[in-house]
Symmetry: C2
Subunit: 507 residues, 2 copies
Amino acid sequence: MVAQAEGVNVDVDGRDARFVVVSNRGPVTFSRSGSEGSGEREYSRGAGGLVTALNAVLRHRRDAVWIASAISEEDARVAEEALRDGVPYEVEDLKVVLVEHEGEAYDLMYNHLANPLLWFVQHGLYNLPYTPELGDSTKRAWEEGYIPVNENFAEAVARTLEASAQEGEEPVILVHDYQLYMLPLFLRERLGDGAFISLFSHIPWPEPDHWRVLPEYIREDVLRSLLKADVVAFHTHRYARNFARTAHEVLNVEADEEEGVIHTREREVWVRPYPISIDPDEFKKLAQSEEVLKEEEFVKDLPGKLLLRVDRMDLSKNVVRGFAAYARMLERYPDTRGEVTFLAQLQPSRGDIPEYASYARAIQRAVDEINEKYGTDSWEPIVLSMEDNFPRSVAAYKNYDALLVNAVRDGMNLVAKEAAVINERDGVLILSENAGAYEELGEHALTVNPFDIDEQAVKIYEAFNMPDDERTRRAEVLRQTVIENDIEEWVKAQLKDIAAHPKWRGT
Amino acid sequence: MVAQAEGVNVDVDGRDARFVVVSNRGPVTFSRSGSEGSGEREYSRGAGGLVTALNAVLRHRRDAVWIASAISEEDARVAEEALRDGVPYEVEDLKVVLVEHEGEAYDLMYNHLANPLLWFVQHGLYNLPYTPELGDSTKRAWEEGYIPVNENFAEAVARTLEASAQEGEEPVILVHDYQLYMLPLFLRERLGDGAFISLFSHIPWPEPDHWRVLPEYIREDVLRSLLKADVVAFHTHRYARNFARTAHEVLNVEADEEEGVIHTREREVWVRPYPISIDPDEFKKLAQSEEVLKEEEFVKDLPGKLLLRVDRMDLSKNVVRGFAAYARMLERYPDTRGEVTFLAQLQPSRGDIPEYASYARAIQRAVDEINEKYGTDSWEPIVLSMEDNFPRSVAAYKNYDALLVNAVRDGMNLVAKEAAVINERDGVLILSENAGAYEELGEHALTVNPFDIDEQAVKIYEAFNMPDDERTRRAEVLRQTVIENDIEEWVKAQLKDIAAHPKWRGT
């Protein structure tokens, strides 16, 4: 099959490639109108960084099919119809295939394997003297959850290709994120060596010793599967390098860290960084939307200069230390009291996982203590919003004087990019050296070690007291950096590498 | 000075080398007899793995001087006398120089910098979403504790060499462990490039991303200092490799991981593993001592087969999960109830550090729960001893059927080696893949992932149910492995590398 690919245009621009995008969460969710759900089929398009990014892929490949999990009841009906008819469901410009999973299997994959275990290991969030406590329950989540869900996806990809493949077309399958690590292996079993498979991990890849926290069967099986892909992609050089090392040490394969290539007996696996980005125009448009303008009234009413953070409420985001640093600043520089408000927009997340519930309590406690200690009748030092209010976040993007992104570890952190393009106050970015965005934006930000409270306190103060010309210069170059490497560039870089890969070139 | 070294015997056996051993804890402590401390000067020789190991160095170099911190009041007097007289204090076969530190500086170094921060980072013990909270107090512990104590040591080494150096002699300075990382730099400032300096880190060296938990000034200054040494030594290949990577990534020096060499502008630094070991004869003799024979009565009285663990009570040792695994075994294999006793000899340690105090409580809670749940009138499932009773540990070494060493991470773990050489029951070693000892002993042990409770439960059961011939075979090869790479070999390997180092050879 490789030989057939020879005629393909080097920019992968011909019709000879059939693109399939696979991710756990899809671009649309379906529902029924009416109180009993008996009305017409409706849909809503999803938001969020990954969906935006994959939409950009689809703009480049209009014939691409997007395969994702059925989440709602109506999703499941759409899934069944697709199974019956053998064709993707078309919505606007999208061709969607939804995959229905057995409920318990999905729960085991999502809530027991991917989100606590892989997420925690890859972000380094465990308290290793005590957690995790791995064992038979882990094995069950793997065997009865993660594996069947991935098999299910592989089956859906194979069926979709079978129903739609045209003579001489090569499938290009772009698999996304840590819920689907076993997919490359299961796809090879069904599609053979000809298909071009890329797996993109959107979260950090840890160093080998840390990957070894996982039980042997997971640590080895995941790696063996990923090395069935032709490209394994990450947001940063550091993650790509960590992955190459991990594969080398755990599976004893030959890995060239510098070149980003792993050689297995069967194939050449390219291990590459493609820093994900945003659609700047989308945010510029959003910034002028009615909802955002309305929220801007609230934001502009906050007293003093604005320190902002916008995060999913995740243990990796370092919210508690961020508040501690702010309090340290208020303590150390009394002239800042009443002159600054810290707006924290924290979107609730994974509240069912005990570690997240106690993290939310720790956050609330920190806020209460600081507001109690420093607050006055006319000034609340921290304005905490634990709700999903995207328009308010965008309104705040426009108006911050300093943006705090101090993550313990973060795959990329798109907030830093989104905010930079629409901020109107030459706001200063305070950026953790452990955020993926650091590789691109670090030199234009005030960088911090996320574990150092005093350093963060000083950097926050510094941000507010930076000379205007330096603020302007930094804000401008940040904006330009994001605009120049936008989401289109992210897609193009990947397509270019597919076209250059020896597998695609047929050499 | 390098040129002068040319005439030196390649096995470093001539008198042309003057050896100085430096470690925080020394081989002797002094006191005064009598109730008021008014009587005669007395001393007691220290025990423990490092002291035993360094004694072995001194057996090879009888003229060597050992420089260590003054701990007791009488130590301080010995320190003052040495300062006055300019000669080391001689005790038995030892030449000792004690260094007096300012009390607060020592406290900052030991209790605020080395033991919580460096120990936690190097063993990966932090709960990173919450701890550490670095800041000005860290900087103070560094600047007013770690640095002055290291300067103090450097001064003592320089003075000692000045007072005792002979014409044509090259100093060889063997610096030990994580309390003294700044010593190579401070020694170079005083002694220049001629001195041969080795720094041995007896704890794990973490991967670069984890080293980056430290504030920039510590992470960089420590590395810059270590690269002033000619040899940087560790217990395992993994630590040596991690160190080479860390130096490469943080300081951007050229590091050859495979060869174990880092090239700086000034020198060739050898990064090498020398797995520390024990003196088997010492343990064979101990095993027959009266105190041990007496404790053996207690040990032999314990009902059923004996599962043993012997550890300092440290968060890195994984005591709680070990008990959980044992309970899982009792639950899963009811026939084991009453047929096994788990003796846990846990030496109290660092109780002043809050994390250690709560770990001790977690241990006690786990033991109480399990004994409550499974214990009977005639059988206590876990016999916990939280006291320092070395003779009892040695008695237990002789009599265990299975030894559990399940550390989260452990520099070497000498218990596995000590116990192997005197065990009389063909006891099975259950060994964490994260213990340094794993590189040498792993293939003869039942290895476990320290985070997997069920795997440990199964392995404990397997150890008790292993066919006799396999037990015998494994126990024999374990014993031989330890005996063949004993502490003498550890010293010889280091001396051999010094002789082979281009700096020593004068090339």
